[in-house]
């Protein structure tokens, strides 16, 4: 979805950099978005506060709230997918092989 939405908007998306949490996307606040998402999924509350304040300063309160909502949504969707054994159709997997490799999904625990 990231690759597709970036292409549709004529933006450069380097998935290897997203994988390495170094931003790598030609969109506003990419670094801060990745930092906030990373901190929100870990247990370092000090890092989370820094990341949230930095994003709020740059993108504003309403955008930060909406980023938290997207983070929350994927805390939900990843559990939904993993607990119900969700998988993609074979042809979809084949189509997305290059993207999947760039993101390193061959290495993730839930590969099936």
């Amino acid at each position: 979805m990231l690759s597709w939405s970036g292409t549709e908007q004529g933006l450069e998306v380097d998935l290897k950099n997203v994988r390495n949490a170094s931003g790598g996307v030609d969109v506003s606040f990419a670094r801060e978005l990745v930092d906030f998402a990373t901190a929100a999924t870990e247990f370092d509350l000090a890092a989370l506060t820094v990341a949230r304040n930095k994003l709020m300063k740059l993108a504003g309160l309403a955008a930060t709230v909406d980023v938290a909502a997207v983070i929350a949504n994927f805390e939900m969707m990843t559990r939904l997918a993993d607990s119900t054994g969700a998988r993609m159709q074979t042809e979809v997997v084949a189509d997305r092989l290059a993207v999947a490799t760039a993101m390193g999904v061959d290495d993730v625990v839930s590969r099936r």
Partner: protein
């Protein structure tokens, strides 16, 4: 800089309140007391700094002090495992689990965990206090099973026919319609309304679609979600 609940969009507050309140009400396969108790275990699981490893049944760990009064230990163990170690789940685990817990009741357990995980994550990200669980509402689960539940190829769990015509995540909870409704109401408010999903330019006016997808990608990667 701090955030208060009044800074949150009303539609999002409403979706979370509806889902959170449902945790204490009778569901389709579990009573209100059972659902509430299982939600408490899910809250513990997502908040623990040092969780039990995936191969240890949480109910056997004495210092966790799980409240196991209404639902079985097996149900609590399933909830803990999904809440904290979802990426480690296997088809073999699912098959063993559903020898003890009916597959449709299992789907409702997944829905309880999804609700807890999403609301707690949202509150934690914004440094908002977690909501309290309401006292359990008495009453029996409805036990209403849709007529057209079938096996799927794209999911371990059964779904409503016709199977595999929609994405696996979209059909995953359809065999328990109330769970499905609550979860997708939150997804609409948190991410993108279903009817807008195909529009790469859709925005609420705060984030662009590609910004949303960047965040989604990073969270999925952190949770090691292959899907």
């Amino acid at each position: 800089m701090s955030v208060s609940i009044s800074d949150v969009r009303a539609d999002l507050v409403f979706a979370h309140e509806q889902a959170w309140s449902a945790l204490s009400h009778p569901g389709t396969w579990w009573s209100g007391a059972q659902r509430r108790e299982l939600a408490i275990t899910a809250i513990l699981a997502v908040n623990e700094v040092e969780p039990s490893p995936p191969w240890v049944a949480a109910s056997t760990v004495a210092d966790k002090k799980l409240q196991i009064l209404f639902a079985s230990s097996a149900a609590h163990d399933v909830v803990y495992r999904i809440a904290r170690h979802a990426a480690t789940l296997t088809k073999d685990w699912y098959q063993r689990t559903t020898q003890e817990i009916d597959p449709l009741a299992f789907i409702e357990l997944c829905g309880i965990v999804c609700t807890v995980a999403t609301v707690v994550a949202f509150r934690r990200a914004l440094d908002l206090d977690p909501p309290e669980l309401a006292p359990a509402t008495p009453g029996e689960p409805s036990r209403i099973k849709p007529d057209n539940v079938v096996a799927a190829t794209l999911n371990w769990v059964p779904v409503i026919a016709p199977a595999d015509e929609n994405a696996a995540v979209v059909q995953a909870f359809t065999a328990v319609p109330e769970t499905n409704r609550v979860i997708w109401a939150m997804a609409d408010a948190q991410y993108i309304p279903d009817k807008e999903m195909v529009d790469p330019h859709w925005t609420r006016g705060t984030l662009s679609r590609v910004q949303m997808e960047l965040v989604a990608t990073r969270v999925s990667q952190q949770r090691e979600c292959f899907y």
